[in-house]
């Protein structure tokens, strides 16, 4: 009869592996164990039953537990890898030969505690969460400081100027200066720059300006640092823009 990928030849006491073309001459003890498993296919055969070897014409003799487990594992090992689960050894209980090759994969919707204890389940979930947190902390994009105000201004010449104001402390100031700057920029006749970034310093005494001009061949950059006496009042005027070379 067929057991996994092996053919069990009851007459000649052979276990023939068809895929590897090998055969195993079973001795009395091995033959006894395998016959019992085959006879009770689909049922757990108690170890006590397997330990007592009854060979026709001879007096029954006992196998030690070591001998028995060795035989069982030898049989399991002899089966092909895809049929390893066909015979299951339940320590201290017995051995079962499944009627067909049992798929060991339970239904995915089955509760996990059917396979694992709650403790083990908890450890796995905990470890997974730790892994997730670890990966998360490594994957989240770096926190770039976003501009507080982003605007596009069309100057008198029709040129579009991108305006970004950075102010970590006070969004009201950022709004105020963005408003001033855009109003004044619209009145400018000639603006060389395509993009203006302004950062208001944390101690509110300085403004960092980054002026960028995009030309086809190159980009021109200019940094300007200006000290400002009162950051809370509108200080950007036409004259101011002319002085720092934004206008004209």
């Amino acid at each position: 009869m067929q057991i996994g990928c092996c053919w069990f030849d009851n007459e000649r006491r052979l276990l023939v592996d068809q895929t590897r073309s090998t055969q195993w001459h079973l001795n009395d003890n091995e033959y006894w164990v395998l016959t019992q498993l085959v006879l009770h296919r689909g049922q757990v055969v108690p170890l006590t039953m397997l330990e007592t070897v009854i060979v026709s014409g001879q007096v029954a003799h006992q196998l030690t537990q070591g001998e028995l487990t060795s035989i069982i594992h030898h049989i399991i090992d002899y089966l092909c890898v895809s049929h390893l689960n066909l015979i299951e050894y339940i320590p201290d209980q017995g051995v079962i030969l499944y009627p067909i090759n049992q798929t060991k994969h339970p239904n995915i919707l089955a509760l996990p505690n059917r396979l694992l204890s709650w403790g083990q389940y908890g450890i796995i979930i905990g470890a997974l969460l730790a892994l997730l947190l670890f990966l998360w902390s490594h994957i989240i994009p770096p926190m770039f400081t976003k501009a507080d105000v982003l605007r596009q201004i069309i100057a008198a010449s029709g040129k579009v100027i991108q305006l970004s104001i950075y102010d970590g402390k006070s969004p009201q100031d950022a709004m105020l200066h963005a408003e001033c700057l855009s109003t004044q920029l619209r009145l400018c006749h000639h603006v060389r720059w395509d993009s203006i970034d302004a950062a208001i310093s944390a101690d509110r005494h300085y403004v960092s300006l980054l002026l960028t001009e995009f030309t086809e061949t190159n980009w021109h950059y200019k940094n300007v640092k200006i000290s400002v006496s009162d950051m809370h009042s509108p200080f950007i005027t036409q004259a101011w823009l002319h002085k720092v070379n934004i206008c004209g």
Partner: protein, 191 residues
């Protein structure tokens, strides 16, 4: 049947039995996770970009009110050189007004923390060489830019800084450098 040495077969059997047991399954799950952890760390280590920066930045500075109030103010030329080389870091400020370099400060020290994804660096520097004018323009500016807590930056004074390279414009070899605590912005040439 392939004849393997008995010892190897016994070990294989033991391993298989262990892997089929509950404890073995748990161990293999945890083992796979450990592999993932180490794999992620290794990949991160391998993916580290070059960690050497040599930046030169220059700005027009309007640092004094009388200077700015004139009809056509002539700006001071402020130069910042940043050099980050793995664990070492150096910052160099130069202020040129009119005739030549009038004020400067050289700070050298170590990179104490880095985040290579955000390209942010924490620097612990020491003022190695300092020259201020009596009516300094650079000094008050630096107190602001470096968010310095003391009244003045003296020789050998420690300086702690957080800088971030916020935007890299590779085709034009420019980067946008931010001083995190003071919100100061610099566009720098990458050398």
């Amino acid at each position: 049947m392939v004849k393997l040495p008995l010892r190897v077969r016994r070990w294989r059997r033991r391993l298989r039995r262990f892997l089929q047991s509950r404890r073995g399954k748990l161990a293999s799950v945890i083992g796979v996770m450990l592999l993932l952890f180490t794999g992620a760390i290794t990949i991160e280590q391998l993916a580290i970009p070059s960690d050497v920066w040599l930046l030169s930045c220059s700005a027009d500075g309007y640092f004094s009110a009388p200077q700015f109030n004139s009809e056509h103010p002539i700006p001071d030329k402020l130069t910042l050189l940043v050099n980050i080389e793995h664990q070492q870091a150096a910052l160099h400020y130069l202020l040129e007004s009119g005739t030549g370099v009038t004020e400067f400060i050289v700070m050298q020290g170590k990179v104490t923390r880095r985040d290579l994804r955000a390209l942010s660096y924490q620097l612990a520097l020491k003022a190695n060489s300092v020259q201020w004018q009596d009516d300094s323009r650079l000094h008050p500016y630096l107190l602001n830019e470096l968010s310095y807590v003391e009244q003045s930056i003296k020789l050998n004074a420690p300086v702690l800084l957080d800088v971030q390279i916020r935007h890299v414009d590779s085709p034009h070899s420019r980067v946008l450098l931010t001083f995190m605590s003071s919100n100061s912005l610099w566009s720098c040439q990458v050398n």
